[in-house]
């Protein structure tokens, strides 16, 4: 059973210790799967909805909240992702005093690179959970190739994936 307070803290923690809309994914993935409060499938579904829906890509967390804990989960997720960006006001104060120090830039860069590395592992986990075969491998390559061109809208890409899935399985 999901405890709302702990659930909220996990959501908040993941956003507090990461940057960008998808940076919180590795931490959330670890924490929620460990407690059995979300499944790989929930993550896959939430990411897909987040890609299609408007707004910052970070809104996928709201979708995850809804899928795992209903309306309460969605509201908790909305609050949890809205709070950390407020810290920009504190950052501005410090930044105005100390300027753009290379150590700070280095810290953020190292943190971001680690998140990307872990993100790749999470993606691999999603693939394995979903069933790894020639069909799914082809879809990955296809969406990567079409994505690189930058001309196919994300919605169309995911719709093509869905059609391929219905055709294959």
């Amino acid at each position: 059973m999901i405890e709302p307070l702990t659930y909220f803290w996990l959501l908040l923690k993941a956003s507090l210790f990461s940057t960008g809309g998808l940076g919180n994914l590795p931490i959330l993935h670890e924490d929620l799967l460990a407690r059995g409060w979300a499944t790989e499938r929930h993550f896959a579904e939430a990411l897909a909805v987040g890609q299609v829906s408007p707004g910052p890509s970070g809104l996928w967390v709201i979708s995850l909240g809804f899928l795992t804990a209903g309306w309460l989960g969605a509201v908790l997720a909305l609050v949890a992702i809205s709070l950390p960006p407020l810290l920009v006001l504190a950052v501005e104060r410090v930044y105005n005093r100390t300027g753009d120090h290379p150590a700070v830039r280095g810290f953020i860069r190292g943190l971001s690179l680690a998140v990307i590395g872990i993100f790749l592992v999470v993606l691999a986990g999603l693939m394995i959970e979903n069933g790894l075969d020639i069909g799914t491998a082809l879809i990955v390559l296809g969406s990567l190739a079409l994505g690189i061109t930058g001309r196919v809208p994300v919605v169309a890409l995911l719709a093509l994936g869905a059609l391929a899935g219905i055709a294959f399985y």
């Binding site: 960008g20 690179l113 680690a114 993100f119 790749l120 995911l158 899935g165």
Partner: protein
């Protein structure tokens, strides 16, 4: 602060120290501009960032280009969603606390409602066989996009490392691959992220003091 009426004569103006650009950015106009941005914000962060630039810098001139660039740098030092941090900062510059609330509400109201609506509709049909088959195809498509996104995020970081020299580039590549391997081995994510940040931060700090000595 309180004003007592009648004690200081008829025509005493109430002086307030407000934000620096209050002239045209009234509360309602600010909310309207952000709502418009929220409705148009299909296509993720970069597209929306461009829309924000056009609306606040080019069209209304409430923010100067320099201010925007500085804001964008600070946004990347802030935890959480970059676009929301930018929204908070612009709202604060224009109208203080109320500006922050209105800007966030304007940007989020349309997009959050649509996200919720889509999730609710989806969760109503998620157990039908046809939807499950479709999802088996959608997941790899999302993974493909995720790979592309990882590359797009990593490229500028590695490019910046390369400009600093071969050592920085090697360190950057090592942090990227090393954290992937460490995470496979079961290292807690927060620990990994913190250590990677500290290593790169220390490297940045040391390289400046080193170049200071050389010069």
């Amino acid at each position: 602060m309180y004003t007592s009426t009648g004690s200081t004569g008829p025509a005493s103006p109430v002086l307030e120290d407000g934000p620096e650009h209050p002239k045209q950015a009234s509360a309602w106009l600010l909310l309207r501009v952000w709502l418009e941005l929220g409705i148009q914000s299909f296509g993720g962060g970069t597209a929306t960032q461009m829309l924000i630039y056009r609306a606040f810098v080019e069209r209304r001139r409430w923010i100067t280009p320099d201010e925007f660039t500085r804001s964008w740098a600070m946004v990347h030092l802030t935890p959480g969603i970059n676009l929301l941090a930018l929204t908070v900062l612009i709202g604060w510059k224009l109208r203080g606390v109320i500006g922050v609330a209105l800007s966030l509400a304007g940007l989020l109201l349309p997009s959050v409602s649509i996200t919720l609506l889509m999730t609710a509709i989806y969760s109503g049909v998620r157990n039908q066989p046809l939807v499950q088959a479709g999802l088996r195809g959608v997941v790899p498509a999302t993974v493909g996009l995720g790979l592309l996104m990882s590359w797009q995020l990593a490229r500028p970081l590695l490019a910046a490392s390369r400009r600093e020299g071969r050592g920085s580039l090697a360190l950057g590549t090592l942090l990227l691959t090393g954290s992937a391997v460490a995470s496979l081995l079961g290292t807690p994510v927060i620990l990994l992220i913190a250590v990677a940040g500290l290593i790169a931060g220390f490297h940045g700090w040391r390289s400046t003091s080193a170049s200071g000595d050389d010069a």
